[in-house]
């Protein structure tokens, strides 16, 4: 600490500050609230547009990480400061997680205009961490103007990312759009843009056609593009389409992210109360009372939520 840090050391230290703040909001509690408030206070005085937050989702193996890495490289060439938040599931059994998205993203250790962080879903039981919205605010306050949040799309109505992001990009592989489509109805419906990645593989063009014709049935159908992240084709066009779609929508911004944070906190609190009621037997006692006609069903849920 005594000698003055090199420029590289200084950049690493500021990355460390952001990284530790993200860990703190992952842990939650009063310290986390203070950090989020501080970030919001800082952003309130900032000039310039709010950061753009793009959710990237889709089935495993579609090439999301590689594509996000390619998009980040392209955005850096345009001088934008880019961050990536990669979310992977925690094991329900051990609580551990294997976070492997960095394998697919080229490391650029000398570039302090980039930041990448992997987070596990921890207790959320969903495809998004409860801390993702808070982390997005911290990242924005640290001066990043474009943030990609990558999640494994769980299909169904797992739409936390829709709540949080300004824009949702759905990434499909070359075999996408078929039986997968039914499964992923929830996500397809809420995607602002769809991309078929691995466009160099056979069948990719047909996947684009399938998705276009499937989506054309609905109103306000999202655009379907084709990329090959490994070959770099279509990436510039995709970044441009994302920017255009974000402008068209004009929604989003910080209020959206704060709302997403509050929603996540409510879900976390409810889940915590439920776990506690299961652990100390209150849930079962309530259920028994209701089953035996000793107490009414109505009011039971409120009782559990009050803890």
């Amino acid at each position: 600490m005594s000698d003055a840090p090199s420029p590289r050391g200084a950049a690493l230290r500021s990355a460390r500050e952001l990284a530790q703040a993200i860990s703190s909001v992952e842990r939650g509690g009063a310290g986390a609230d203070a950090l989020i408030q501080e970030a919001l206070a800082q952003l309130a005085t900032a000039t310039g547009p709010a950061a753009r937050v793009i959710g990237v989702t889709g089935p495993p193996g579609a090439g999301k990480s590689t594509l996000v890495g390619a998009l980040a490289d392209r955005a850096r060439e345009e001088g934008r400061r880019v961050a990536i938040l990669a979310v992977d599931p925690s094991s329900a059994v051990s609580g551990g997680a294997l976070l492997g998205d960095r394998v697919r993203v080229e490391e650029r250790p000398d570039d302090d205009g980039r930041f990448m962080r992997s987070i596990a879903t921890r207790g959320s039981g969903r495809s998004l961490s409860h801390a993702a919205a808070a982390a997005s605010l911290l990242i924005e306050a640290a001066g990043f103007d474009l943030l990609f949040i990558e999640t494994v799309g769980a299909g169904q109505a797992d739409l936390g990312i829709v709540r949080l992001a300004d824009l949702v990009l759905l990434v499909e592989g070359p075999e996408g759009g078929d039986e997968v489509q039914a499964m992923k109805a929830g996500l397809l419906e809420s995607a602002d843009l769809v991309v078929v990645n691995k466009g160099d593989r056979p069948g990719a063009d047909r996947a684009v056609e399938r998705l276009r014709s499937g989506l054309a049935l609905g109103a306000d159908a999202p655009e379907v593009l084709l990329t090959s992240a490994t070959e770099g084709s279509g990436v510039t066009e995709l970044l441009r389409a994302l920017d255009a779609a974000a402008l068209r929508r004009g929604r989003g911004g910080r209020v959206r992210r704060v709302a997403a944070h509050l929603a996540a906190a409510v879900e976390a609190r409810a889940a915590e109360r439920l776990r506690a009621a299961e652990a100390d037997g209150r849930l079962e006692a309530l259920a028994r009372g209701i089953t035996d006609g000793l107490r009414p069903l109505s009011g039971a849920v409120d009782e559990l939520l009050q803890g």
Binding site: G9, A19, I22
Partner: protein, 135 residues
């Protein structure tokens, strides 16, 4: 400080040029099953990339797997880089094939532990739980 509730975060890195990552993958998977959050970086990472990743991921431990014989130069660079970044509290451990006579020098350079080919996942997990420096 109360008892730690968040999982311990470990970066598993393969510095240097050898591409044998089976051991690193087995360890990554095994530590996940032990309840750790494991960030795996892939093969052939520069020490600069490993340091930057460790900082961004705010890990408690950096585990370097080395089979190439380049440990004597690479591992001390990781330790030094973390110190420069103000992250001297990150534990640096190594695994792989490291000759007995090199151990003393590596330990002097700040490598906390060296796990040879016979080490079990349970043993490594126990060591990490007992030795992470951050609450």
């Amino acid at each position: 400080m109360t008892e730690r509730t968040a999982p311990i975060r470990v970066l598993i890195a393969k510095p240097g040029l050898d591409g044998h990552d089976r051991g690193a993958k087995v360890l990554a998977r095994g530590l996940r099953d032990e309840g750790f959050e494991v960030i795996y970086t892939g093969i052939r990472r520069t020490t600069e990339a490993i340091i930057a990743a460790a900082i961004e991921e705010d890990v408690d431990v950096v585990g370097c797997s080395i089979l190439s014989g380049a440990h004597a130069t690479l591992l001390p660079k990781v330790v030094a880089g973390l110190r420069e970044a103000g992250a001297a509290d990150v534990l640096v451990v190594a695994g792989g094939i490291i000759p007995e006579e090199d151990r003393v020098g590596l330990e002097a350079a700040g490598i906390s532990a060296i796990f040879g080919p016979g080490s079990t996942i349970a043993e490594i997990a126990m060591y990490l739980r007992a030795n992470v420096r951050r609450p």
